[in-house]
């Protein structure tokens, strides 16, 4: 009986998670940001980028090599970028023994992003 309940719950769990994910992918939900890329730092251990975006809606963000809308110019310094981000993200850099996080990103840029050329 417990096994059946566990299976039912697991199916429900996967469905709930998938529906949330699909909604997320479809609508690109997230928080808005926008400004000029001021610094672009590559994180060799995590293979992503720590970007500093300037005003008007800037901050420090992770860019994970995700697809972009036109003109797809992240992570180049000097381009203007606007889009959505989701909280969280990590930049890992080499240290003496392994890798360690640097920076405190405001979030991670989602694929719902466009840039200037």
């Amino acid at each position: 009986m417990k096994r059946k309940i566990a299976i039912i719950i697991a199916i429900f769990l996967v469905t709930a998670a998938a529906s949330g994910f699909i909604f997320y992918r479809t609508n690109g939900a997230g928080l808005p940001y926008g400004g000029m890329v001021i610094t672009s730092f590559f994180c060799p251990c995590s293979g992503n980028w720590l970007l500093t975006i300037g005003p008007p809606m800037g901050g420090t963000f992770m860019y994970n090599n995700t697809p972009q809308f036109a003109h797809e110019q992240l992570p180049r310094v000097g381009v203007w970028s606007v889009g959505l981000y989701t909280p969280g993200g990590i930049c890992l850099v080499p240290v003496t023994h392994g890798c360690a996080p640097v920076g405190v990103p405001k979030g991670t840029i989602t694929p719902t992003v466009g840039t200037s050329l």
Binding site: A6, G28, P32, M36, F42, C45, P56, N65, H71, L84
Partner: protein, 336 residues
């Protein structure tokens, strides 16, 4: 027993986040124009935004109605867009010199849609101070007011003929007396639509070619520069048809095959840097070896992160224009 409790907690966790996403707004950014007859996922998002306001609802029942949005831009969507444009006339129609909606979703309409989609200043349709003419420019309207610094962000288009009109986005534009520098040419006494938007018509006396754009006014000169290509009548923009190889390392020489490349002065603008002064002896091929500014770090990442791929997107710019916005060249950087 523990497993059941664990799963229950996880179910609530996932349901919470599913609900959170569902409540977090439209979140769509419209980067491309839309018109009647088109089918695309963006039309679905467009209809959802239109249906969020009873005054701009696509349909009351059936296809296009709330909950039944479709990907097809038909007559009902066009009619709803016209109502939307008329409602937000101050930011969509007035800057374009129009008195009634057209049903075409161009840059000004997209800017208004993006502003609403992202939840920015959603009810200030009568206040043009924070409005913009480019989707990216939803954010430049957030800069501030009269005391804001002068900045140039980007033009609405990077190429056009003389007589064409572009919108420059930025901040700190003054109501009158802005000067746009198009290379050595000064276009003076330009009025701004608002502090973050200038509408510029390219004068007829400007010769075809690629120019740097900057803006100045009584606040000084904007520290940023952009570029614009004044195209000659009958000229055709560069076309990227093939990239060889498509995958390789950081020191790889890349060959672009296409059309309308200039003998000299081609520029490849990529997300990994701008590579200038590239020649094309036959007008059909450009060969270049990118010099990456972070080459050592990038190579370290390629070595450390198994399967890491870095996508380099690029456009060719020359006096003929800019290669297609929706068709960038692509080179995948990876260890092979």
């Amino acid at each position: 027993m523990f497993k059941a409790q664990f799963f229950t907690v996880l179910v609530f966790f996932f349901l919470f986040f599913s609900f959170s996403y569902a409540q977090s707004g439209f979140g769509t950014v419209f980067y491309d124009d839309l018109r009647e007859g088109m089918s695309s996922p963006n039309v679905l998002s467009l209809q959802k935004i239109l249906n969020s306001d009873p005054a701009t609802q696509v349909a009351v029942l059936g296809p296009g109605s709330p909950g039944n949005e479709t990907q097809y831009f038909g007559k009902a969507t066009r009619a709803a867009i016209i109502r939307f444009q008329n409602k937000y006339a101050a930011e969509i129609l007035s800057p374009a010199g129009l008195s009634s909606g057209t049903g075409y979703v161009g840059p000004l309409t997209r800017a208004a849609l993006n502003r609403i989609s992202l939840g920015l200043n959603s009810e200030n349709s009568g206040n043009s101070e924070n409005e913009s003419g480019n989707p990216l420019n939803n954010f430049t309207g957030q800069f501030g007011s009269a005391s804001e610094e002068l900045h140039l962000a980007f033009p609405s288009s990077y190429e056009g003929k003389t007589g064409s009109t572009i919108i420059l986005s930025g901040s700190g534009f003054t109501p009158t007396s802005n000067t746009v520098h198009l290379g050595p040419n000064k276009i003076e006494n330009i009025k701004a639509q608002n502090s973050s938007m200038i509408s510029l018509t390219i004068p007829q006396n400007i010769s075809p070619g690629r120019y740097e754009i900057s803006v100045s006014n009584q606040k000084g000169i904007a520290p940023e520069k952009s570029f614009f290509v004044v195209t000659a009548p009958g000229s055709a923009r560069p076309v990227i048809e093939k990239v060889e190889p498509t995958v390789g390392g950081l020191n790889q020489s890349i060959k672009i095959t296409g059309a309308n490349f200039s003998p000299t002065g081609n520029e490849v603008r990529s997300n990994f840097g701008i590579f200038s002064n590239l020649s094309s002896s036959d007008g059909k091929t450009i060969i270049f070896t990118p010099q990456f500014s972070l080459a050592a770090d990038l190579q370290s990442g390629l070595d450390k992160v198994n399967g890491l791929e870095l996508k380099m997107n690029f456009y060719v710019v020359n006096g003929n224009g800019v290669s297609g916005k929706n068709n960038p060249g692509v080179y995948i950087i990876k260890n092979i």
